[in-house]
């Protein structure tokens, strides 16, 4: 693997999880979750705190990272999202509310960083976590471990959504909340579980991304457009599409920057984020209507052997 491929894989795996998180929440609750930004940053800080204070590898803190994300998700659901869903709030209101939550989280992150400096003498505002990595088969371990974790998580989710009763109930609620309610499925619980899963995915994604980029208190704020771009590219209709969209955005960014900077010179680096955004703009221009027009989500689903009905 070339160096750009290794860090591209790491970065893209993280972006895939965050884009998947956005997609999942959107298809279940109609909420575009802004708070993935700070959730991702929090994920990084949980891993960093573990490594810096208790030693070891970043990977061993991932379960904790996921749990913390779930906690953040539950707080947002019960404090905010639930009331608004009950009120049948507009999409924009739902989105704005998560922006408010994101800003609260951002202020806590900033304060936490200050606190780490003050009490432990750490420098948490510019962190390169990948110095804590090891080598595996002659590669950076992260380039192998993280995609594997991401795929494992996705498989687990797929099993959950197709094989367990509650998972099927979740899909039922996504498709037809009215009928699901009439069947006795408590939509409240479905929403809660999706916040738990999406929260965990977002924080884990942030912890992944910090293995490829510099961890800062605003790293989530900085990359949120790319996470959204991934979700949009994936069509926002299926979880798998979202994950693939995020992955593609991440890989094109790394590949594009690598080749363009060889061709045109290092100044390209400053505009690296333009590449995925141009990809997104192209998608929007080509499929202005549903974005569901992109067959990406459907292609993936076919691969998983599910047939879709006529509903879009």
């Amino acid at each position: 693997m070339t160096p750009w491929m290794a860090s591209g894989l790491v970065y893209a795996s993280g972006l895939a999880l965050t884009a998947g998180s956005i997609t999942l929440l959107f298809i279940v609750t109609r909420t575009f979750n802004f708070a993935v930004a700070s959730m991702a940053t929090f994920g990084f800080y949980v891993a960093y705190t573990g490594v810096a204070l208790y030693g070891g590898l970043p990977y061993q803190y991932y379960p904790l990272v996921f749990l913390f994300g779930s906690f953040l998700g539950i707080v947002c659901y019960f404090g905010l999202n639930r009331h608004l869903l009950r009120r049948q709030a507009a999409e924009i209101t739902l989105m704005m509310s998560t922006l408010g939550y994101d800003l609260l989280l951002l202020s806590f992150i900033q304060m936490y960083a200050d606190y780490l400096t003050h009490s432990y003498g750490l420098f948490p505002r510019r962190v390169t976590l990948n110095t804590h990595d090891f080598e595996l088969f002659g590669e950076r371990a992260a380039a192998i471990i993280l995609p594997v974790i991401a795929i494992g998580l996705l498989t687990l989710l797929h099993q959950f959504m197709t094989k367990t009763r509650f998972g099927v109930a979740m899909r039922a609620t996504i498709e037809n909340p009215v009928l699901a309610g009439a069947s006795g499925i408590n939509s409240d619980r479905v929403y809660m579980v999706s916040w738990i899963i999406a929260g965990g995915m977002a924080t884990l994604g942030g912890a992944f991304m910090a293995m490829a980029m510099t961890g800062t208190p605003t790293m989530g704020m900085f990359t949120i457009p790319l996470m959204f771009a991934g979700a949009i590219l994936g069509g926002l209709t299926s979880l798998y599409g979202g994950i693939l969209g995020g992955f593609m955005i991440g890989m094109t960014e790394y590949a594009g920057v690598f080749y363009l900077s060889q061709q045109l010179g290092p100044w390209v680096l400053g505009y690296r984020m333009a590449i995925p955004l141009i990809l997104m703009a192209a998608t929007l221009l080509l499929f202005p209507r549903g974005l569901a027009g992109i067959p990406l989500g459907k292609i993936i689903e076919k691969r998983f052997g599910r047939k879709r009905g006529e509903s879009a």
Binding site: G100, L103, F108, L277, A281, L284
Partner: protein, 397 residues
Amino acid sequence: MTTDNKSYSNLGLKDFFLKREVMVIIVILALLTFLFASRGVNIILTIFIDFAVFAIITMSLNLETGYTGVPQFGRVAAVIIGAFAVGAIPGRIMAMFMGLPYGVEYASDTVNFRLVPEINQVLAGSWLISLGFLIFSLFIAAICGAAIGWLISRPAIRLKEGYLGISLLAFGDFFMWVGHNWNAMVGGSVPVSVPDPFRIFAGSRFMVIVLVIFVIAFLVFTYLQKLHRSPFGRSLRMIRDNDLSAGAAGKNIVSVRTQSLVIGAALAAVGGGLYVLYVGSAASIGFTKLTFTFWPWAFMMLGGIGSNIGVLLGVFVLVILRTMIVIFRSQWFGFLLQIGIDPLWLEFTLMGAVIIIVILFMPHGLVPEKVEPMLPKSRVRAVMERRRLAKEQGNQS
């Protein structure tokens, strides 16, 4: 709904809203007096400038979001373009006329710090050139802003609600990055000094700036109020409330929305340009989406989406609170300082809390949008009266 009924029957719509506005204004005045008494006049002037600049930007946001229903999450892009246009173009033109270097090297910090004082001397010598410089700066900002507004609207305008919001956010960020990285234009991460058209007023510069920005903010306000009542404003609201029926009524939704985005971006760019003229330098790092997208959103939501009076009050209240966090940080938040936390972060807490509280508990903000009737006022009054009578009769039987 219940408040509406009440106001119709005993107070009259106007008095009811006025009362709320008056209450907020009293709070603002009280806070200002307190600040004036404890910190002197300079803090008041700073608040006024922040207020006026953000009022312009937030009103432009309100035009797009409140009037038109476009969730503009990329406000920062137009602001930053306006700021950079003012940072890059008028100074270069002055330099060109004066025979100084005006190419890429204008923005490099070794040249820039010698150039700008020379230009300033010329400006300080003639009020005519100063005025021309000011007007030209704002003009160029508006033009560039409008261009960027149009450009951003292209891929996004046909999208709906959330999609539109996140696309605007992404493209807003994109132009923000361009601004942060395009060194040849305004020096990228190194701030470029901007010639100062207010130099001529020497000692009272600050006062004059406050005055000028206030006047411009007021002009923007009256313009938007007029626009709101014009046929174009009615189309905007129609599209916002129901784009299906507006489309059926023959409104070209895309073109009306685009116009709104272009006007909004031009106004926001003027706001950004004024800010740069006041600060005296264009530092790209200062233009973040936190300050120039999310804060305006918080202002607008607190004030009341769709209501310009509300927006003005919302901006005023929050600008004062923000300033208070800054100046009283060690006095009031000493407990945070003791564990090493900078109380300045409370600014974000305030912003997030305001957004959440407004959404949960007062979705229409401080001053809710007045529902402008499509019919003449006399007709509306007649209809209301008839309904009231019918209701009373119904109650009696």
